[in-house]
């Protein structure tokens, strides 16, 4: 898994490529990267799943841990461009009740601005 970060209109965007699975993780996890940004004072986090093929339960745990850390500091974490199949899984597991998921990155960024 490769994670790159960039900023756009006050939102930190993590572009995730590959599979989020425990066997692919080194010492730096997605949650740690998010926490680093939170420590720098960033509060708007967007996870871009356009290039994500697969997530296991570890990946789900990372996403939820990142959400918890962001929210508990008064920030917002959202997701964009997840595949239809993955979206269906998120729906069945009711994660869509809590996580905001957008089709397009620009829509997601606009939603931060509106807040």
């Amino acid at each position: 898994m490769i994670i790159n970060s960039r900023s756009k209109e006050g939102v930190v965007i993590f572009d995730i490529e590959g599979e989020i699975r425990r066997s692919d993780i080194t010492d730096i996890t997605l949650h740690q990267l998010v926490k680093d940004q939170l420590d720098k004072g960033q509060r708007n986090i967007l996870l871009n799943f356009e290039s994500v093929d697969f997530i296991d339960s570890f990946g789900v745990g990372e996403i939820l841990a990142s959400y918890i850390s962001t929210h508990n500091l008064g920030g917002s974490m959202k997701m964009a461009k997840i595949s239809p199949k993955l979206y269906m899984v998120f729906q069945v597991t009711m994660l869509t009740k809590v996580l905001e998921i957008f089709n397009e990155e620009d829509l997601a960024i606009k939603s931060f601005v509106k807040e």
Binding site: I25, V60, T93, M94
Partner: protein, 830 residues
């Protein structure tokens, strides 16, 4: 913001922030231009009335004023709803301007009825215009701003009283005596322009009285708005009822004192003009006292003693003076009691009373104000008048009034004490919780364990049919194999994995199930599988295979190990195959570890605990290991505490333990965590504090060792102070970092501080305060500070406020340096 000359001048009198000077000055002038004319009007009113009708007719004046006020309230309330604020106030000013000119013409002509009408008119004047002034103040300022500035702009009113009184005294004996009411009209005309300036720019940016929600409301039917509406508004709120009670009692006492004063003066000073001069000088003198009280003391007293004790000050002074009159009803005591009454009433008491209104929601506040400040203000005088009438009827001595006053004052003291408590509650209700803990939201809305299981089930489809089947079995066992989940994980006919257990429930989708075969009952299946796996023969049968897998003697060993690790979780804990789990818990593969950890959670054997704790140090397995350890229940607390206390244990393991302990909200856990908090372990302090705060939220009735937590808070505050002082000093030539930015960048320090505070103060109040300080609007920050100001003990408040108040860097560092020198900081609390 650039500091203007006006700002520099005004900031010598009050704690002004840049940008506030214009509005503060305008309000000062506005109040001045209401009270200066009133001082003239009142002197003329008193002199005319006493000269033509005598003090024995005063109760009639009080009574009629009280009755008329009911109609004034109705009229004003309807007007307030029908017209914009500016229109209403300017119209009122125009009315009083015109009528003052009229009285100037007709008052000398008639000495029987007109003085009574004039008396009533004067009372309506002061009640309406002063209430309108304070409504504008409520529109503009939040409680913190009002507390800082009320001393200054309030003194404008008092200065007006002084100037008005002196003008009266100077002109009363001269040929310009008849022009006094013309001067009143002139001042009120200028006031109109000042009001225009106050309300025009403020309306757009600062008006807090009209919220977005109320602006969208349907305008009320004017028939429904009126006296009854205002009365019901007050009656419906315990806080407003107490306020109304205080105002009533204050004015009853004031009325009694007024009668005593006027009675004694009438005998001591003879003649109409002499009385006018006396009242002119007296009013000016008492206003001077009130002015200095207001300007120099009011804000400082409120800041130092808080609202609760400031409220007691005024009635206690009057209680002493009432006994003074009882023992010595002479001119000196009359001047003293009336002087105390009015000077304190105009200064400290008025200011504190207005502060009590500010946190009330606007839709309730303005109706309450009109009812209390207009109607009750005079009605209470009417009650006082009735009491006086009774005393006069019974021909009781003037001293007896002092005893009645003393009795009323005692009740008044009780009401003041109660209102201070209700004030804190009212402030607290204005501070909203901005966000809930995300872990609570997730817990309430998402079944995280089931979610992870579904993801694992899907992932296992590509790994092994056995793994997939075991996951489906878990879903069945946990009652999570809903129709939606079945659809999600179902296979297509041509996929070879269709021979899995899941196929038994997916009729028509696998192609490998003969048609007509009945599906298995889920409960029956679960029982059968568990029975099979606990059989001795099964254990013996599978042992060689498992040993082969563990030794790595087959291809695709990793997948086989995952299968074995998962299967062990379904076996009895003492079964021979279950004894192989420790080896799997040492495996290098994170995927194998995940299943081994999950099985350990099912088996809950003490033997596996050290291996699970070891996995807390790895990011890939930390969450799974934490979840597994939680499954052990509260018996794991002692073991985890031991690891936490071990100085040789790795930091990554220690960091992972407090969140696990937070799941056990017991006194035992709290005691362990607090004990660790006092060991110097800065690397895990954040986790310890967070865990304690979580437990506090779940179970606030546990004992959180307040003394120890207080010490910890003081230590952390000292750490913050040192940090700020350090960032404020840097070598020559190096740009100094801004101290407040450096501090606020250390958001974790502030977060920790408030979490610690939430352990010894009401949890939700501290969280609300913290959230609003971090992310709130200017007003919500002000309310949060006001809440803390009234909730925290004085010592704690003094130490914390320099860290959170919106003050200049210079001021912050100055206060910090002062506090750090204080011996109390390093005293018994440490």
């Amino acid at each position: 913001m650039a500091k203007t000359r006006l700002y520099r001048f005004l900031s010598t009198f009050c704690d002004l922030k840049p940008g506030e000077e214009r509005i503060t000055f305008l309000l000062f002038f506005y109040f001045f231009l209401i009270t200066a004319p009133y001082s003239i009007i009142k002197s003329l009113r008193n002199a005319n009335y006493l000269d033509s009708r005598g003090p024995e007719d005063l109760p009639l004046a009080y009574f009629l004023t009280a009755v008329l006020m009911g109609f004034i309230v109705t009229f004003h309330t309807k007007s307030q709803e029908a017209f914009p604020r500016r229109t209403l106030i300017i119209s009122s000013l125009l009315f009083f301007t015109a009528t003052s000119l009229l009285f100037g013409l007709v008052l000398p002509m008639e000495k029987s009825v007109l003085p009574l009408v004039n008396w009533i008119w004067a009372n309506v004047y002061i009640v309406v215009l002063v209430t309108q002034f304070w409504i504008v103040v409520n529109d503009i300022f939040n409680p913190r701003e009002a507390k800082r500035l009320i001393g200054f702009f309030g003194s404008g009113g008092i200065l007006g009283g002084i100037i008005g009184g002196e003008i009266t005294a100077l002109l009363a004996r001269s040929r310009f005596a008849d022009s006094l009411l013309v001067i009143v009209a002139g001042m009120l005309t200028v006031c109109i322009f000042v009001v225009y300036l106050v309300l025009s720019p403020q309306r757009k940016t600062r008006m807090r009285g009209i919220s977005k929600s109320s602006a969208k409301k349907t305008p009320p039917n004017l028939k429904d708005v009126g006296f009854k509406d205002c009365f019901n508004t007050v009656r419906g709120s315990p806080y407003l009822k107490i306020l109304a009670g205080i105002v009533t009692l204050t004015l009853i006492v004031s009325t009694l004192i007024d009668f005593q004063f006027n009675s004694i003066i009438k005998t001591a000073v003879t003649g109409g003009k002499e009385l006018t001069v006396f009242f002119g000088h007296f009013n000016a003198g008492l206003m001077i006292a009130a002015f200095f009280l207001q300007l120099l003391m009011t804000s400082n007293v409120i800041k130092r003693f808080g609202i609760r004790f400031t409220l007691l000050f005024y009635p206690l002074i009057l209680l002493i003076c009432s006994f003074g009159i009882f023992f010595a009803p002479v001119l000196f005591m009359a001047v003293l009691i009336k002087g105390s009454d009015k000077s304190l009433s105009y200064s400290i008491n008025q200011s504190v009373r207005e502060l009590l209104y500010i946190p009330i929601p606007p839709e309730v506040k303005y109706k309450a104000k009109i009812f209390i400040d207009m109607f009750l203000n005079r009605f209470a005088k009417g009650i006082g008048a009735l009491i006086l009438m009774l005393i006069l009827f019974l021909q009781l001595d003037i001293k007896f009034i002092s005893l009645v006053s003393a009795g009323v004052i005692l009740v008044w003291l009780i009401f003041n004490w109660r209102v201070a408590r209700e004030y804190v509650g009212t402030i607290n209700r204005q501070v909203e919780l901005k966000w809930e803990r995300a872990d609570h939201i997730l817990r309430d809305q998402v079944d995280v364990d089931a979610t992870k299981l579904i993801f694992d089930t899907l992932a296992s489809k590509n790994q092994s049919s056995e793994l997939y089947a075991m996951h489906v079995f878990d879903l069945i066992n946990q009652d999570k194999l809903t129709p939606e989940v079945k659809k999600l994980i179902s296979y297509k006919q041509d996929e070879f994995l269709a021979a899995s257990l899941g196929g038994l429930f997916e009729q028509g989708e696998t192609g490998l199930i003969p048609s007509g075969v009945e599906p298995w009952d889920e409960d029956e299946l679960t029982k059968e599988i568990k029975k099979i796996m606990s059989m001795d023969i099964y254990q013996q049968f599978m042992e060689d295979y498992v040993d082969n897998v563990l030794s790595g003697g087959i291809t695709d060993a990793e997948t086989q190990k995952m299968e074995v690790a998962k299967a062990i979780g379904m076996m009895p804990v003492q079964s021979p195959l279950a004894q192989k789990l420790p080896e799997l818990l040492e495996d290098q593969s994170p995927d194998v570890l995940k299943y081994a950890i999950s099985s350990a959670a099912h088996l809950k054997s003490r033997e596996h605990i050290p291996a699970l704790i070891k996995q807390l140090s790895h990011p890939q397995t930390r969450e799974d290991a934490s979840a597994a350890l939680r499954q052990y229940g509260s018996r794991i607390i002692g073991t985890l505490a031991d690891y936490l206390a071990d100085p040789d244990e790795s930091i990554s393991i220690k960091k992972a333990i407090p969140p696990i302990l937070a799941g056990f909200a017991s006194q035992e856990t709290v005691d362990f965590l607090i004990m660790e908090l006092h060991v110097d372990q800065q690397e895990i302090e954040m986790e310890l504090v967070d865990a304690l705060e979580q437990i506090r939220a779940e179970n606030p009735n546990l004992n959180f060792a307040p003394d120890q937590i207080r010490n910890k808070i003081l230590q952390d505050i000292l750490h913050c102070y040192n940090l700020l002082l350090k960032t404020s000093s840097s070598p020559r030539g190096v740009q100094k970092p801004d101290a407040s930015e450096a501090f606020h960048g250390q958001s974790q320090l502030l977060t920790n501080l408030f979490k610690l505070l939430s352990l010894i103060y009401p949890h939700q109040d501290m969280m609300k305060a913290y959230q609003n300080l971090r992310t709130g609007t200017k007003d919500s920050v002000a309310y949060a500070l006001e809440m803390l100001d009234n909730s925290l003990k004085k010592e704690m408040r003094n130490y914390i406020f320099p860290l959170i108040e919106d003050i200049s860097n210079q001021e912050r560092l100055k206060r910090i340096r002062f506090l750090m020198r204080s011996p109390a900081f390093f005293g018994n609390d440490r």
